[in-house]
């Protein structure tokens, strides 16, 4: 494939990274391919770029399929562009579990952003990840951050109830709902609604919008923290109490009609305000810490799994799995024995 040789020589790496830091779109695109295709190259890239990151405001956009995420991202991007921000957009769509192929169609809704050099759009396939993002998404965010994009809009795959990874990848999480997608009980279930910093009822010109808004507002008021709790990763209880007492962010429920840009000015205003709020209250750092923890843990898990693959012979693995299937040993014991093999052969 075309991009293969670029990383072969270290002067090539250097040149590419310098071009990324200078914000050259072609270099950014190439590097995104490399980090997406290879953990090794992702590591090389991120370790060089990391000192230049940390400036971007990462905004996650999630919600069920058809709620209007791509249209909303486009409308929000147009508004943020008018305010002068340079934007990176990462749009994740699902990969087929059968063929590994993917149809990445988010650009269909984003045609209004074409021709604007202040916007860089990248489609990403989820490649088997189940949390609503792709494995390489966080590395891709680092690349766009280092390339100087002020705000990074991260659109997840159409999310059901449990795809909450976006909350630990983003500073500000928007959960998009549309009218007519379930009764009141849906809104008090655990999961995706809990991660919202801003709740958006899109297609607000459709029947049932008032009902959806009311359901969401009720959900917020039923919460133990009266609508002020936060983020994907659960904070320690004392922190949460402190957050409520002094630094409460009121989660707004906003109405939008993305295709006519209705309500988008207010949404953009709240998005920018949320960043200011995080910075003013010290929660920005808390979220960065939670994000870092998540990321390091994920990499550690990957490494342990990789070690499992090299430390355990296929025959050893086969013997154990067969024994479990034949009810000779239980799955817990098998896992313990595999773990012992991993730890022994270091």
């Amino acid at each position: 494939m075309r991009s293969a040789p670029l990383f072969g020589v270290s002067s090539g790496v250097n040149e590419l990274l310098q071009k990324v830091l200078a914000g050259q779109p072609r270099a950014v695109a190439r590097l995104l391919t490399l980090v997406e295709n290879s953990e090794v190259e992702a590591q090389t890239a991120v370790s060089h770029l990391y000192p230049h990151t940390g400036n971007a405001h990462i905004i996650g956009i999630t919600g069920p399929p058809g709620a209007g995420k791509s249209s909303l991202v486009t409308a929000l991007a147009k508004t943020l562009r008018r305010q002068g921000f340079r934007l990176g957009i990462i749009a994740v769509d699902p990969s087929s579990p059968f063929t590994g192929g993917a149809l990445l169609g988010d650009r269909v809704r984003m045609r209004d952003l074409a021709g604007d050099r202040g916007v860089f759009i990248r489609s990403m396939a989820s490649r088997g990840s189940l949390g609503g993002l792709a494995r390489a998404t966080s590395a891709a965010i680092q690349v766009l951050d280092a390339a100087g994009y002020d705000k990074i809009l991260l659109e997840t795959v159409g999310a059901g109830q449990a795809e909450v990874d976006v909350a630990s990848a983003a500073h500000t999480t928007l959960v998009i709902e549309a009218p007519g997608m379930g009764d009141d009980v849906q809104s008090i279930k655990a999961g995706i609604l809990e991660i919202a910093d801003i709740l958006v009822v899109n297609k607000a010109d459709k029947p049932g919008a008032d009902h959806t808004v009311k359901s969401l507002e009720m959900m917020l008021h039923l919460g133990p923290l009266g609508g002020t709790r936060h983020h994907g990763r659960v904070l320690a209880a004392p922190q949460m109490v402190a957050e409520k007492a002094k630094d409460a962010w009121q989660i707004p429920v906003l109405r939008t009609v993305a295709i006519t840009e209705g309500g988008i000015e207010l949404l953009a205003e709240r998005v920018v305000a949320h960043r200011a709020h995080l910075l003013a209250t010290g929660q920005w750092l808390a979220r960065e810490r939670a994000r870092s923890e998540r990321e390091v843990e994920r990499l550690l898990q990957d490494r342990l799994l990789a070690r499992l693959q090299t430390a355990v012979l296929p025959t050893e693995r086969e013997v154990l799995l067969t024994a479990v299937a034949q009810r000779q040993i239980d799955p817990y014991t098998a896992a313990d024995q595999l773990m012992a093999l991993v730890l022994k052969k270091r």
Binding site: R2, A29, N37, S96, G101, L103, R111, S123, A125
Partner: protein, 135 residues
């Protein structure tokens, strides 16, 4: 899922003003089923939009569907823009209605393949695997 993973990334776009995108969708779907990652941009793409999307998405090939007869205008412009962006190495293939005499002209401009009505999905998929492997 392994640490090293390469998937062909293919842009499927429909430049020009006719609204018949069924063919492009059929191809996009077929390439998806062949294990490729297809970036589908939809209708009414300008040459500038096509090249910008190809650049940002770092695609391995560009597939264009044109039924309007505008290929003699659109394709030279797209090939020029690709060259200006140092992207002449990205293979371009065409589908739709391209008369045989024009197909030769398209190839002379650097188009890697032209597929008219009757071309099979297998044929197109094999062709794409071939060009992105540099065969």
């Amino acid at each position: 899922m392994t640490a090293e993973e390469r998937k062909p990334r293919i842009l499927i776009a429909k430049p020009g003003l006719d609204g018949h995108d069924r063919g492009a969708k059929v191809i996009a779907r077929a390439l998806r089923d062949a294990g490729m990652e297809v970036i589908y941009t939809g209708l009414r793409q300008t040459p500038e939009m096509v090249v910008e999307a190809a650049l940002q998405e770092d695609v391995d090939a560009i597939g264009l569907s044109i039924l309007s007869g505008a290929h003699n205008t659109l394709i030279p412009r797209i090939m020029t823009l690709l060259a200006e962006n140092d992207m002449s190495d990205v293979p371009v293939f065409l589908g739709g209605i391209i008369p045989p005499e024009d197909a030769e002209a398209m190839k002379a401009l650097g188009v890697a393949g032209v597929f008219g009505p009757g071309a099979s999905i297998d044929e197109i998929s094999t062709f794409i695997w071939g060009v992105i492997r540099g065969e």
